[in-house]
Symmetry: C2
Subunit: 119 residues, 2 copies
DNA sequence: CTTTATGGTATCCAATGGAAACCAAGTGCC
DNA sequence: GGCACTTGGTTTCCATTGGATACCATAAAG
């Protein structure tokens, strides 16, 4: 088995990076790392996500073993999502990304204004 | 000014997260953090990236102040890209993501096989 | 009897991504 | 002289994706 190398096109790491380097994944997993949430609660908290994309994102996260889904036979049905231990390790590495965005947003926007002024 | 919050739809942080949570951005910036590279060298190293997407990714990174572009009037023209200090801070926060992917790839793939076996 | 809530799926259209062709300028090759 | 090859792109076209909207079953509340 070859060493993992995300820069090689056929490396399976690339597939994982694809899934992980995704806007909704970062946001959804970030919330689930704080505690379990239900579908519509996630939908309200992650502003702008459509039902389709949230459903799709959660399915992907579940398939990757990052999130578990539990349905309760209440009425209406209750479905609870929570991060697995593996999901928590990923969320922990994604936290700095959200923090970076919030920290350097002003610098990035200033750079954008400079760039756009020239062009 | 409101505090940055990536979960709010209108928050500019969301825009930054969009750009940053991108496959090609992660890979390209990761290489440029190691040292300056030319366009076609990047293209060869980031396997599978098309000229269009590489060009687009680099333009975005430049606009965000994460990468600088320098053209030399050689023949054929030489264009060199390098990470800015800001770009280095982002790359440093993205490194753990690539490392996570390479570390846990086996676990993720095992989870996928389990999931697919049930379905 | 209509509205509300749950957690989705189905459908449609716009936007995005990728493959391939094309471009200019100059150098080497035959 | 003429063809191919290099650089760093842009353009064009088509397939895939994303998002908005409508729809579904079930049951409780008003």
């Amino acid at each position: 088995m070859q060493p993992a190398n995300a820069y090689a096109a056929q490396c399976p790491t690339r597939l994982v990076l694809d899934r992980v380097a995704d806007k909704w994944t970062v946001l959804v997993l970030g919330l689930l790392a704080e505690g379990p949430l239900r579908f519509n609660e996630l939908r309200r908290r992650v502003e702008g996500v459509s039902q389709k994309m949230l459903s799709q994102t959660l399915k992907g996260l579940e398939r990757d073993g990052l999130v578990t889904r539990r349905a309760y036979a209440t009425v209406p049905v209750t479905v609870e999502y929570r991060a697995t231990p593996l999901g928590h390790t990923l969320s922990a590495t994604l936290d700095p990304l959200r923090i970076w965005a919030e920290t350097y947003i002003a610098e990035v926007q200033a750079a954008q204004r400079r760039y756009d002024a020239v062009a």
